[in-house]
């Protein structure tokens, strides 16, 4: 993907969306990758015994999706300096999770070009299940 430069970014811009859809296999991969083996994410009987309708996607995986959204946008010369989200709503496997980000502030400080963003994951009905914020530094054209 082409490098995005600080001069090209303005408040209100949306970063290219990232669409995810987790199979149960991906949730098991994440359990191994992250070390979070809580059974509500891969054992349906266990999840239902806790009162859930079924399996749910790990909150930290949705956070990591936002990390990918930002990493891919910042490009080779940019850096993701801060990102995170609240685990506000649940997402299910085999359902689209749209990862989005909108620029809220741009400024320069100490020779660095900072971009602040609102980031979130969204369900097909538009509900924001993981609202958060991020800070990225981008290269300058000059």
């Amino acid at each position: 993907m082409a490098q995005v430069y600080f001069e090209d970014v303005k408040v209100g811009d949306e970063v290219p969306q990232l669409k995810k859809n987790c199979s149960t296999q991906q949730l098991v991969l994440w359990a191994a990758g992250s070390g979070d083996f809580y059974q509500i994410h891969y054992d349906k009987d266990f999840a239902q015994r806790t009162g859930l309708k079924g399996l749910i996607v790990h909150g930290a995986l949705k956070n990591a999706f936002l990390g990918q959204l930002l990493h891919d946008w910042a490009g080779e010369k940019g850096h993701v300096r801060k990102f995170g989200c609240a685990y506000r709503g649940m997402d299910e496997p085999d359902q689209d999770i749209l990862c989005r980000g909108v620029v809220t502030k741009t400024y320069q400080d100490g020779g660095k070009n900072y971009v602040e963003l609102d980031v979130w994951t969204e369900k097909p009905d538009g509900a924001k299940t993981s609202p958060g914020t991020a800070v990225v530094t981008l290269p300058s054209k000059n």
Binding site: G33, N63, Q68, A86, G132
Partner: protein, 166 residues
């Protein structure tokens, strides 16, 4: 909602731990773990998979993907903190249910970037307690901050976590 003053669940022994760093934990950043984490997210950037690609971009080795701060060293003879305690700090909360409220990661790439081969020291502390009346009833919100330092003594990341008990 009655006008009676609610009993706070925040005790003096809890207030005493605010700002106090717990025991340091060691995390290993290995190539295989970086790849596994990146694969489970669906990353496509080769710096998370291929050492040559990472080196060509100026990194020491495979880069730890966003949100991956290393793997705690598992040892069955050293079990984690007992249930009911918060990270083995020795205070207990009357609420039974726990929710992970959210997590924020902060990186300091001007210090160093976390790469495979690194050994990270993590130091965690409670930064505050707050009580709130929510849709789930009375809640205790605990905020926590963990600082991650690499083998060269460089601060490479911080994690800010929120835990909700109700």
């Amino acid at each position: 909602m009655t006008q009676e003053a609610k009993q706070s669940v925040i005790t003096d022994e809890m207030r005493a731990v605010v700002g106090v760093e717990g025991a340091a934990a060691t995390l290993e950043v290995e190539k295989t773990n970086c790849r596994m984490f990146a694969r489970s997210v669906g990353h496509t950037d080769p710096i998370f998979y291929d050492e040559d690609a990472a080196k060509a971009r100026g990194y020491r080795s495979i880069v730890a993907p966003p949100g991956f701060l290393g793997t705690p060293i598992f040892n069955p003879s050293r079990p984690p903190g007992a249930p009911g305690e918060m990270g083995g700090r020795g205070y207990s909360i009357p609420y039974k249910r726990v929710l992970n409220g959210g997590t924020e990661y902060e990186y300091f790439p001007e210090n160093d970037v976390i790469c495979a081969g690194d050994t990270i020291t993590a130091r965690s502390k409670v930064t505050g307690f707050e009580e709130r009346e929510g849709s789930l009833g009375p809640m205790l919100i605990t905020t926590r901050e963990t600082a991650y330092t690499n083998q060269h003594g460089k601060l490479v990341a911080k994690m800010y976590g929120t835990v909700i008990q109700y």
